[in-house]
């Protein structure tokens, strides 16, 4: 399988403060890539680079090259709305809109005018909810408020919302950090299921989670990429001593 995202000599600055240093790596298509590293090392910043979410910060600046499907997304011509549809995002804290379950999922389909009528809209909502493994739990209460769902269900609703606009890449920033083990397991199973169709990049502080669900793991420290390797290699015999120290809890 080819590379979905390819990053070359990426530097990132918040004003005068550099947050990412000369990062080059490739993210293969239809695999799960996990980003791990100590708090503040730049994982979320890096993740937001892939759909230009950092653009909303006026003093942020990007240098280098980020190609998705071979196209540099930081070219001025890039259609950022289309980019964000293609590269969806799920956050640590589930953030449903104060609307019904149905409307939460329908929202992106509507604003992107992806549906051909009421029936098609309903079908797309159902498909997204099914793909997010939530349909069976909510099909009889689609018109009730999204806030009536449990934390784990809300998180899967946000995944459904991301899936509804037919993305190709899904970015997840600690999607299960606030969930209990059962809800976490559901998210993990979902991630593994979703990689059949999507390229997934997931930030997690849970090393076991990275080990369980990712194909490759990248370890960052102080804005630098220290090591990226197949997950099985990373957790049995990492190349870098810093990685070993981090995943075995030798420093904190």
């Amino acid at each position: 399988m080819g590379d979905k995202i390819s990053i070359k000599n990426l530097n990132f600055y918040y004003g005068k403060n550099q947050a990412l240093y000369d990062i080059s790596m490739k993210i293969p298509e239809r695999e799960v890539m996990a980003f791990v590293g100590p708090s503040g090392c730049g994982k979320s910043t890096f993740l937001r680079v892939f759909n230009r979410m950092n653009d909303t910060i006026p003093y942020a600046r990007v240098e280098g090259e980020v190609k998705i499907d071979g196209k540099n997304i930081y070219k001025t011509k890039t259609d950022v709305v289309a980019l964000r549809r293609k590269v969806g995002m799920v956050f640590q804290k589930s953030n449903p809109f104060p609307k019904s379950i149905f409307e939460n999922v329908a929202y992106g389909i509507r604003i992107n005018k992806m549906h051909s009528g009421k029936k098609d809209l309903a079908d797309r909502v159902e498909k997204a909810l099914r793909d997010a493994a939530l349909w069976d739990e909510v099909s009889d209460r689609l018109n009730t408020s999204a806030f009536g769902l449990s934390g784990g269900q809300q998180q899967r609703l946000c995944i459904a919302r991301a899936l509804a606009v037919q993305p190709e890449v899904i970015l997840m920033d600690e999607p299960a950090s606030a969930l209990d083990p059962i809800a976490t397991q559901k998210i993990e199973e979902l991630v593994v299921e979703l990689k059949k169709k999507y390229t997934i990049v997931i930030v997690t502080h849970n090393m076991q989670q990275a080990a369980r669900i990712s194909d490759k793991t990248a370890f960052f420290m102080l804005g630098k990429l220290i090591e990226v390797n197949p997950t099985e290699k990373m957790f049995t015999n990492p190349d870098d001593e810093l990685t070993e120290d981090y995943i075995t809890g030798r420093f904190g």
Binding site: Q208, N237, T248, G249
Partner: protein, 220 residues
């Protein structure tokens, strides 16, 4: 840097493995002594003490599982627990061979003496030295020594072939020693097997140190 919780557990696990290793080494040594010195009381003690070794094995197994489940080790920590868990039953089997040698010794000690004619003690010496070096190399995580010990196994195999020839010849030349010689042959076979097991230990050492599985690869 403060010590991690897992460090204390791994230290205990290492100590337990080394205790098992030392006890096993001693069992092989005493079993051979019971044979050389025709000391049946000593042979009985070796057989009896095998129970202690079995208990040690169980204890290490339990502790390894507990560390895997509760500490979820990674990288070197993980390889360490895996190595201990795989070396432990190897040591236990070596100790079984020591007990088998002691059992043979009980029989041989009631037969006319054949022993001085064969190089069994030399074989046992090589096996004992291999075992000791393998355990030292585990502690010091020395891959070079481990690989040397693996090569050393050839010396035991060679000695075994010699002993085999000598004992079969003895049986033909002097039928009155057949029973004793046959049991000495078993002893030689046990020592030869011990050499193989030490080799397996060294392969786990290399896994611990280099994260490479070298078992079933002809070249080291």
């Amino acid at each position: 840097m403060e010590t991690r919780i897992i460090d204390r557990k791994l230290d205990v696990l290492r100590d337990k493995l080394l205790l098992l290793g030392g006890t096993t080494e001693k069992a092989v040594y005493l079993a051979m002594r019971s044979l050389v010195e025709r000391d049946s009381d000593l042979a009985r003690k070796v057989i009896e003490d095998d129970k202690i070794i079995n208990a040690m094995e169980l204890e290490i197994d339990q502790m390894s599982v507990e560390i895997l489940a509760l500490q979820q080790p990674a990288a070197h920590d993980l390889r360490f627990v895996i190595s201990v868990a795989k070396i432990t039953p190897i040591l236990e089997r070596i100790a079984d061979h020591a007990a088998n040698i002691a059992e043979a010794s009980l029989i041989i000690n009631n037969e006319p003496e054949v022993m001085p004619n064969v190089e069994l003690p030399r074989m046992a010496e090589i096996a004992g030295e291999m075992l000791q070096r393998a355990l030292d190399a585990f502690t010091s995580e020395d891959a070079k020594v481990s690989k040397e010990v693996i090569k050393r196994d050839k010396a035991i195999d060679k000695a075994y072939n010699k002993v085999f020839d000598k004992l079969t010849k003895l049986m033909i030349d002097n039928p009155s020693v057949t029973n004793g010689a046959a049991h000495l042959l078993f002893v030689a076979k046990h020592l030869e097997r011990i050499g193989d097991y030490v080799k397996d230990i060294c392969e786990m050492n290399v896994y611990l140190i280099e994260a490479a599985f070298i078992k079933h690869k002809s070249k080291v």
